[in-house]
Every structure is written in structure tokens, then in C-alpha cells.
């Protein structure tokens, strides 16, 4: 069904996903140890945004919603969207369904950077509690330079990028393991905790940084949507269509790493969502990147938000690390789509 040259079905999907996301965000903010109704949450947010609106709400729920829950919910949304975006972009430029910022070493490099800060207490960038963040970001960006540098020696193609990425991933994982071996019990706990991923450290000031970076990467990669579509048909086809494949690959790779690094340096390693969200979206809206990119962001945001909310409430007050829950939700969802969709979605 087309209207004004646009696929109405796909647009309807986006609108439904966006409405679902907003509803889930309010629902998630109402969940926690201190029980609140959807109405309470709505009133608290309204009164914070519009100071002239006055509601009779006790102080404690206000602080809990505004300082603890809302930043965390928003972080889950932006991180989910950003990681899904990075996964979609990397799968597009490498034409491989198994690629994500995790398979090519970005997150293991970030993990190494964080471990250096936790275990050795030294860092390239930042001081105090920003040491871990600065280090994780620095090494994540370094990993992409390494991957691209190694790949260039043999000519930048999808295969060389993937192989170089895998080498870099194993290298940084080995370094992290070595550091864990040298760590004290407390430091080891810190490292393992970081590697599990955690959204509990969400703060308003960090959120704005991540959001700006996400917006930048999203807008710039959307510009390449057509080029990604051309790349899907093969390098030769893309070149004949006038795509500067080398430039597209390099810039997209850097953007995908940048957004991944920005997210994981604040949250620790959250895997899987960047691999599975693009696939789920591809099965639902197809392989046209004009829809796939924003669609993946919505699916990633929903996935991570639901996973984090379940993780922090299912056996409260104890929290289950978000990485574990993401897999528990993502795997059945993915399997269902894989087994029920008739069309070969990956083309």
C-alpha cells in the first residue's frame, strides 16, 4: 500500500511503536519498590516540566521519580536506540548479519579501558569517577582505529573489517582477563559489575551528552540510508550507482563506534540489543534503511526499557543485570519472528 510514494504500512508500524514506547516509559517509571500509580507519575512529570502546575504530591515520590527512575528510564530508551542504530549501521556496511559493535571489539575495548581505571587506577582521560568513563570511551575509539588500520592493509572490504574486528576483540578481551587476574577482590567485583552492564548510574547530566551524540549519529547515518540500500546489493553495484563506498564505510564505522562508545562508557557493556534489534526490525519492515534505521531505534529502545524494568523489579529489591534479561526477552522474540516469517528477510 503506497501513498505519496511512501509505504503506509511501514509508517503505521513506526507510529504504533512510538506510541507503545511512550506508554511503556510512563508504565516503567511507575514500577519500583515504592509503588506509584500511572497518574502519580504523570502528575510529577507535569509539575516538574511546568513549575506553575501544582499537584498535591508527597516529597519522597517526587525525588524518587525525578532523581532515580526517570533518568534511568530515559537512559534505557536512548541507550537501546543508540545501540540498535550502531548495530544496524555496522550490519549494513559489512553486509553481515552477525556483526555488531560487540563482534568487532568496540565493547571489549571499552571493557578493557574501564578495567584499567578500576584495577590500576590510571587513565588516559578524566579524573575521579570520570576516569572509568574517559578510559572506556578512549579505548573504544582506539579499537575502531585499530580495526580500520588493520583492514586497510589488505583493502577495506566487508571481510577484512570483520576479521580485523574479531582479532581486536580477542586482543582486548585477553587484556581484560589478565587485569582481572591481577585485581584484588574488590576491584574484581568492580570489573565484573561493569562488564555486566548497569543503568543504575543514570544522571541527568550524562543523559544530555548521550542524547546529543545519539541525535548527531542518527541524523548523519539517515543521510546514508540510500547508500546502505545500494551496498546491500554488493560493492560493484553500489559503485556503479555512484556510491563512494570507502567514504561511506569509514564515516559510518566511526559514527557507529562513537555512539556505542558514548553509551557503554556510562552504562557498562550491554550486549545483544544491537545485534537483535536490527534483525527484529528487518523482519517487520524489510531492508529499506530509510525505515530500518529509525525502526531499529524504536525496537531497541522498547527492548532495553522493558528488559531494565523487569530486571530491577522482578525480584526487587535485588536487581538482575540487564544483559541477562535482554537475552531472555530478545531470544524468544527473535525466534518467533524467525520461525513464523515466510520471506527470507536477510537479502
Amino acid at each position: 500500500m503506497y501513498m505519496f510514494g511512501l509505504n503506509v504500512k511501514k509508517i503505521i508500524f513506526m507510529v504504533i511503536a512510538a506510541i507503545l514506547l511512550i506508554f511503556l516509559a510512563i508504565w516503567a517509571t511507575a514500577q519500583g519498590v515504592v509503588s506509584l500509580s500511572l497518574r502519580d507519575v504523570f502528575n510529577i512529570i507535569l509539575s516538574k516540566i511546568f513549575p506553575f502546575v501544582k499537584f498535591e504530591i508527597p516529597r519522597l515520590p517526587q525525588i524518587i521519580v525525578w532523581n532515580l527512575r526517570l533518568p534511568r528510564v530515559l537512559l534505557a530508551i536512548i541507550a537501546g536506540a543508540g545501540l540498535a542504530l550502531a548495530g544496524t549501521v555496522m550490519q549494513a556496511i559489512m553486509r553481515n548479519p552477525l556483526v555488531s559493535p560487540f563482534t568487532i571489539g568496540t565493547s571489549s575495548a571499552a571493557g578493557f579501558g574501564a578495567s584499567v581505571a578500576i584495577v590500576l587506577g590510571v587513565g588516559i582521560a578524566g579524573t575521579g569517577k570520570y576516569l572509568i568513563i574517559g578510559n572506556a570511551f578512549f579505548f573504544a575509539m582506539l579499537s575502531v582505529l585499530l580495526v580500520y588500520g588493520i583492514a586497510r592493509i589488505r583493502g577495506v572490504s566487508a571481510e577484512t573489517l570483520i576479521l580485523a574486528g574479531i582479532v581486536v576483540m580477542y586482543f582486548f578481551s585477553a587484556l581484560t582477563s589478565l587485569l582481572q587476574y591481577l585485581a584484588t577482590k574488590e576491584q574484581l567485583k568492580g570489573v565484573v559489575h561493569w562488564l555486566f552492564g548497569n543503568l543504575a548510574l543514570a544522571r541527568w547530566e550524562n543523559l544530555s551528552i548521550i542524547f546529543m551524540m545519539f541525535l548527531l549519529s542518527f541524523l548523519l547515518t539517515m543521510k546514508y540510508a540510500w547508500d546502505f540500500n545500494a551496498l546491500a546489493a554488493g560493492d560493484e553495484v553500489a559503485i556503479s550507482l555512484g556510491v563512494n563506498i570507502r567514504q561511506v564505510r569509514l564515516i559510518s564505522l566511526v559514527l557507529a563506534t562513537l555512539i556505542t562508545a558514548t553509551i557503554v562508557c556510562f552504562t557498562g557493556i550491554i550486549g545483544f540489543v544491537c545485534l537483535v534489534a536490527p534483525h527484529i526490525t528487518r523482519m517487520l519492515v524489510g531492508n529499506d534503511h530509510r525505515f530500518l534505521l529509525p525502526g531499529s531505534c524504536l525496537v531497541g529502545a522498547i527492548l532495553l526499557l522493558v528488559a531494565d524494568t523487569i530486571g530491577r523489579t522482578i525480584i526487587q529489591p535485588v536487581e538482575i543485570p540487564i544483559g541477562i534479561i535482554t537475552s531472555f526477552i530478545g531470544v524468544p522474540m527473535f525466534l518467533y519472528l524467525l520461525l513464523t516469517k515466510k520471506k527470507k528477510y536477510w537479502q
Binding site: 519500583g32 519498590v33 515504592v34 519522597l60 525525588i63 524518587i64 532523581n67 532515580l68 569517577k129 587476574y181 591481577l182 585485581a183 584484588t184 577482590k185 574488590e186 567485583k189 568492580g190 559489575h193 548497569n198 543504575a200 548510574l201 544522571r203 530491577r312 526487587q316 529489591p317 535485588v318 536487581e319
Partner: protein, 309 residues
């Protein structure tokens, strides 16, 4: 009171605004719990982290849990309306705790409570916090009495015995750790003290080559008691029949949770001293002292097996 401690307390209370006689306390530090219980302040504990019922005094069974030590649930803490939250000296990190509790106006006290060399100060601080200074003084005196006795009697020992100390299988401790400190106090030499890594995993061959005089294993299996099975498994390791410690019967198990970590470590130290230097400690019965401590400060009648053999 020691001037340094007094000054520290004054600065601490000015800095944090914690008044003496805190009534509602959330304790994330499991070793501080043991001290608070000994001070008779169990009823002040309104929340705690990582509840492991098998390791807890029965009085604490109904205390609500507030998440894990690594990621405490701030909402659960806030809901309990505590005067103060007690954490470890450097764990969990400040951004997980102080930064999150700040908007609610809840103070955090950071304290070790797991190092034998700082027990005196730690007990004093907690005693002041809950307004049980007299009880704290009694606890400190009990602890100091036996610490002094051990130091006094092991001072003159010329040939220090060499000890291999093991936690998990083939995982030992190097200099500066709590276990190493304990060995030093008893006048023993840790064969792994030179390692740079805090908890080195050593090779079976290395233990055979070092041929220690004494082997101490401190199992951490989630239960307080130790048993013969662990002991048999230990001495039947390949090649261990030839070890000096095994031949001379100087292989022992010690309960980590009961008498090794935390304020009751002095009991672990007494056992070590008696096993290693029996002539100097003929008149000392660690089991009786352990029972006395349990009765006097924890109101418990000890029945379990906390060392083997």
C-alpha cells in the same frame, strides 16, 4: 579515649552530620553487622544487603533486604527512612551510594570492619554511632586481651613456621591482605607473601616445592561449618602425602564466616597459635574462648564445627 580517634570522630560527625545514637541503620557492610549485633544494637538494623540466612544470627532473619552490596537498591533504602547507611570503606563506589542518596538527605558511614589491625577503632566508631560506648569498650577489651596474649607469647619465637594459606582451591593470599595480617600476628610466615598479585592462584607443584610446615584452608562454601570431607579431599591431593605439614598433622580447616573474617577473627588467630606453637599456648583453650565470646556478645550456645580437626 585515644586522642586520634576522638578527633577523627568529631571531624566525622561534623562532616556527615550523623548524630550519636542513630536509631535506624541500613547496613551494607556484612562485617559491621557482626559488630553491631555484638554491641546489642540488632534492633537498630532496619535493612541489610545480600541476605544469606545460613550465615546470619537468627535475630536478623526478619530484617528486610535492600539489594546487593554491588548495586544497592536506593528506593528500598530510602523507603526504610534510615538515619545512616553503613558501607565498606571503598565499596560500593560513591556514585552508586552517596551520589544517589544525597537528594534524600541520607548520610553514609564508610568503615572497614574486616581488618584485624583496625578493629579497635572500628568498634569504637560503631559503639559511638549507636550510643553503646560501654558495651563497645567491653568488646574491645575482650579482643585486646587475647590479641595482647598472642603477640606477647609469639614475640620470642626464633624459627617462624612457614604457612600455606588457601581459600578457594589453590588460591592463596599475598602480603597486605587480611589473611596475611592474621598470620603475621600469630608469628607465622606466609609462603606467598612476596607475590605482587593480591589473591594469586598458585600451581600444585609450587606448594609441593615450598613444602610448608603448616597448611590452613579457609573454605567459603556459603555455610559456616567445616567438615571432614573437605579435610580428606585436601590431604588426598596428588603428592600431598609427602608434605611435611601432612605428615606432622599440621593441616587444619577454619570457618571463614565464623572465626576468620570480621570481629571474631581473634578466635581464628587463637586456634592458629595453639596449633602452630602448642607449647606456648598450653593453658589456652580456643574453643572455650570462642564459646565465651558467643555467649557474652551474641547470646548464642555454640554447637557447630568451626575447625577441623
Amino acid at each position: 579515649m585515644n586522642k586520634k580517634i576522638l578527633l577523627g570522630l568529631i571531624i566525622f560527625s561534623l562532616y556527615t552530620g550523623i548524630s550519636y545514637g542513630a536509631n535506624r541503620i541500613v547496613v551494607l557492610n556484612a562485617d559491621a553487622i557482626k559488630i553491631l549485633v555484638a554491641l546489642g544494637a540488632t534492633d537498630r538494623i532496619v535493612g541489610m544487603a545480600d541476605k544469606k540466612p545460613k550465615l546470619l544470627p537468627s535475630l536478623l532473619k526478619d530484617v528486610p533486604e535492600v539489594g546487593s552490596l554491588g548495586s544497592p537498591n536506593i528506593e528500598a533504602i530510602v523507603k526504610l527512612e534510615p538515619d545512616v547507611v553503613i558501607a565498606y570503606d571503598s565499596w560500593p563506589s560513591q556514585d552508586f551510594l552517596e551520589d544517589k542518596l544525597l537528594p534524600f538527605g541520607i548520610k553514609v558511614l564508610r568503615i572497614a570492619c574486616y581488618k584485624i589491625n583496625s578493629f579497635t577503632e572500628d568498634i569504637k566508631i560503631l559503639g559511638n554511632l549507636v550510643g553503646k560506648e560501654k558495651r563497645a569498650q567491653e568488646f574491645i577489651e575482650f579482643f585486646q586481651k587475647y590479641l595482647g596474649l598472642i603477640l606477647e607469647r609469639t614475640k620470642g619465637i626464633k624459627k617462624k613456621l612457614k604457612v600455606y594459606l588457601e581459600y578457594q582451591d589453590y588460591s592463596t593470599v599475598s602480603g597486605g591482605s587480611g589473611g596475611d595480617e592474621l598470620l603475621k600476628i600469630v608469628g607465622l610466615e606466609n609462603i606467598a607473601s612476596e607475590f605482587k598479585i593480591p589473591f594469586p592462584k598458585v600451581s600444585p607443584e609450587w606448594v609441593l616445592a615450598k613444602n610448608p610446615d603448616v597448611i590452613i584452608k579457609v573454605p567459603r562454601l556459603g555455610v559456616k561449618e567445616v567438615n571432614e570431607d573437605i579435610f580428606k579431599e585436601l590431604i588426598n591431593r596428588p603428592g600431598w602425602k609427602e608434605l611435611k605439614a601432612v605428615k606432622e598433622g599440621k593441616v587444619h580447616l577454619v570457618s571463614y564466616y565464623e572465626i576468620w573474617a570480621g570481629p571474631k577473627a581473634i578466635i581464628g588467630a587463637l586456634y592458629l597459635a595453639k596449633w602452630c606453637y602448642p607449647d606456648a599456648f598450653l593453658d589456652i583453650n580456643p574453643e572455650a574462648i570462642h564459646k565465651e565470646l558467643a555467649k557474652k556478645f551474641y547470646h548464642e550456645d555454640l554447637k557447630g564445627v568451626y575447625v577441623w580437626p
